[in-house]
């Protein structure tokens, strides 16, 4: 497999219309999306987007309909030409590649999964799975061996000779995923890949993706408009609004400190126990009395609460991988924080630790 590399998006602009480049200054001077469209007939797609996508991680891009998510992800493999800006991959600027370089980049470094699956209806599941390899000219037999491996990994063994129309939506997207994985590319671009699926099947596919990512460590760009999905999958999340990045960071950072009212309005509904980690509410020093329950700083509040309740205690020590004591938490604080942002003082007097800028 190609070694996972990060992607550096720098000052990317996209303005749809005959003369997008000339409109950049107007937007910089403060013109909004609606005015630009009404007065000049140009559509603001992206404005000055800079995201540093870490290698081997899942970068989620979130936003409401029309916020520019699809536009952004299509710039990474240049299905859309930018108005300005650069996209750096392995020291090369994707926006300046020649047609031939771009074709090779798409063939060897990237693979894409689509919201509407976009399978080839006239090809069988196997033929769809090896589509990328057939474009690269890999011999059929070898391609099928590789395809078969990924088909079984996504749970489609025995369906090789079916046609897409014979499969349910969830199964079709498994084919879409297998097609992307078979390409052996370091980057996987997923544009609302699970949005068309029923909630249960969607959770299922998220699990499949997380499990695979656990061993593959690809650089995945995942688009969604669903915060729960973003928080579950994203190592990092960027939030778009009107083509602009309004906040980026880990899910926990965004839930704990939403950058504006727009973000807090939908962060509000989120299941905090599944996002916030023990580290955030931990206090320094050992618990006043040992309880036998120890937790990692990366444990989620939900897990912490369950561990303490199961052991019927109300305190737990927090230790790192090597067993070194970092601090402790109380059940009361844990539950309070799960329900709502909790600024009340704990029943102890020692100072709370800094809300750490967790995981990068």
């Amino acid at each position: 497999m190609a070694e996972a590399r990060g992607i550096e998006i720098r000052n990317l602009w996209k303005i749809f219309g005959a003369n997008g480049a000339a409109m950049i200054d107007k937007v910089k001077a403060g013109m909004g999306k609606d005015e630009l469209n009404q007065s000049f007939g140009h559509v603001l797609g992206l404005q000055d987007v800079s995201i540093s996508i870490p290698p081997g991680k899942i970068q989620v891009v979130m936003g409401l309909s029309g916020s520019g998510k699809s536009t952004l992800i299509r710039h990474i493999n240049r299905l859309i030409e930018p108005t300005a800006g650069e996209i750096l991959f392995n020291g090369q600027d994707v926006t300046r590649m020649s047609q031939q370089e771009l074709m090779n980049f798409r063939r060897n470094e990237t693979a894409m999964v689509f919201q509407k699956f976009a399978l080839l209806p006239h090809r069988t599941v196997m033929e769809n799975t090896i589509y990328g390899l057939s474009i690269q000219g890999v011999p059929r037999k070898q391609a099928e061996e590789r395809g078969a491996k990924w088909l079984s990994r996504v749970g489609l063994e025995g369906f090789e000779d079916r046609y897409p129309a014979e499969l349910s939506g969830g199964m079709q997207q498994r084919v879409g995923l297998a097609r992307a994985l078979t390409n052996d590319a370091g980057i996987i671009l997923m544009d609302e890949a699970f949005s068309a699926l029923d909630p249960l099947i969607r959770m299922d596919m998220q699990s499949v993706l997380l499990e695979l990512q656990g061993e593959l460590h690809k650089t995945i760009v995942f688009i969604t408009h669903d915060l729960d999905e973003a928080l579950r999958l994203g190592d990092r999340i960027a939030i778009l609004r009107d083509g602009k990045v309004i906040q980026q960071g880990t899910g926990e950072q965004i839930v704990l400190r939403p950058a504006d009212d727009y973000i807090s309005s939908f962060v509000h509904e989120v299941n905090r126990g599944k996002v916030i980690t023990v580290r955030t509410i931990m206090r320094r020093g050992p618990a006043p009395s040992t309880t036998g329950v120890t937790l990692l700083p990366t444990a989620l509040l939900e897990e912490a609460a369950r561990a303490m309740t199961n052991a019927d205690v109300n305190r737990a020590n927090v230790v790192d991988d090597s067993g070194k004591l970092l601090g402790h938490i109380s059940l009361a604080k844990t539950v309070a924080e799960m329900i709502a942002p909790d600024i009340s003082e704990d029943d102890e007097t020692d100072t709370p630790t800094e809300i750490s800028a967790a995981a990068s």
């Binding site: 493999n77 299905l79 074709m103 090779n104 980049f105 798409r106 063939r107 060897n108 990237t110 693979a111 894409m112 689509f114 509407k116 976009a118 399978l119 080839l120 209806p121 006239h122 589509y131 990328g132 057939s134 474009i135 690269q136 046609y163 129309a165 014979e166 499969l167 349910s168 390409n183 671009l189």
Partner: protein, 294 residues
């Protein structure tokens, strides 16, 4: 001013214009007629070969061959049986040879129409300019009374099979071109985007995505082309194409009612055979596009 009579060109000028154009065209015919005939020599050879093959081979073999062809296309016993029965009736009623001539003619015309129509249709689907230029030409080819373009064709090639083929192809090729163009344009953007994202070249996209997905529509074009070629067979008999059209023409001139009806029905019979076989084939190749959960 006289507003009742249209201010038309004077008679002398009109005649002079016609004479000039006709003269120029006659000169063109004299100068290039032979070259043009040479260009179409392969068509003549192919048609002659096919006609002789169908007429001179033992009828039972030809019958078996045609039935096998229909079976391969349609995979339907009903259609194949219908074909055999129609051909037996045609043979028994003394129209075997003419029918074979017509089948050969239609086959050659359809082949040429596909051979020319497919690339033209592809070109139109890829270039807006080609689309804008060729569309009016197709409109003209379809609305111009066919008798009109028989005249220059006959002036160049004389009477016979080759001018017949040209006339039939002009008449029958538009649906092939139009439906190829339409079929390719109808391919969903999602699928094309996927092909792009995986790095397909435009040739790979055309060969592996656009053409296969357009195939059902293209097949509908082939089907229409066949039907229109058959319809044109009677008209083409006026310029010396032999086959089922000639007896019909003869019947019109001499008021032979039965002769006309019999040959007319024979044309209808092979039209139905061609139509059902090609449509069944079209359906068969797109079976996998139908959802069939479960």
């Amino acid at each position: 001013m006289d507003l009742v009579n249209f201010p038309e060109m004077s008679r002398e000028n009109l005649r002079a214009m016609r004479v000039a154009i006709d003269g120029a065209f006659r000169d063109f015919t004299r100068a290039y007629g032979e070259t043009l005939e040479d260009i179409f020599l392969p068509v003549r050879i192919l048609l002659d070969f096919l006609q002789r093959l169908l007429i001179d081979s033992p009828w039972i073999l030809v019958l078996a061959g045609l039935a096998a062809g229909v079976w391969l296309l349609s995979r339907s016993w009903k259609i194949t049986l219908g074909t055999v029965l129609s051909l037996l009736a045609i043979g028994y009623l003394g129209m075997w040879t003419d029918t074979m001539r017509t089948i050969a003619m239609v086959a050659v015309c359809t082949l040429i129409a596909i051979f020319l129509g497919l690339p033209i249709g592809i070109l139109m689907s890829r270039s807006e300019r080609a689309n804008a230029t060729i569309t009016p030409v197709l409109d003209m080819m379809q609305t111009m009374p066919s008798f009109v373009y028989l005249i220059p064709v006959v002036m160049i090639f004389g009477l016979g099979n080759v001018p017949g083929v040209i006339a039939v192809v002009i008449y029958a090729i538009p649906p092939m071109i139009r439906l190829t163009n339409l079929g390719i344009r109808q391919v969903s953007r999602d699928v094309l985007e996927a092909a792009d994202a995986f790095g397909a070249s435009s040739w790979q996209k055309m060969r592996e995505v656009q053409l296969p997905l357009a195939l059902p529509t293209i097949m509908a074009g082939v089907n229409q082309t066949i039907m229109m070629s058959l319809a044109m067979v009677v008209v083409a008999s006026m310029i010396g194409v032999r086959g089922l059209g000639q007896p019909v023409l003869q019947a019109i001139n001499n008021q032979f009612f039965t002769l006309g009806v019999m040959n007319g029905l024979a044309i209808v019979a092979i039209a139905i055979v061609f139509d059902r076989a090609s449509q069944a084939y079209g359906k068969r190749i797109q079976k996998h596009l139908e959802a069939q959960h479960g």
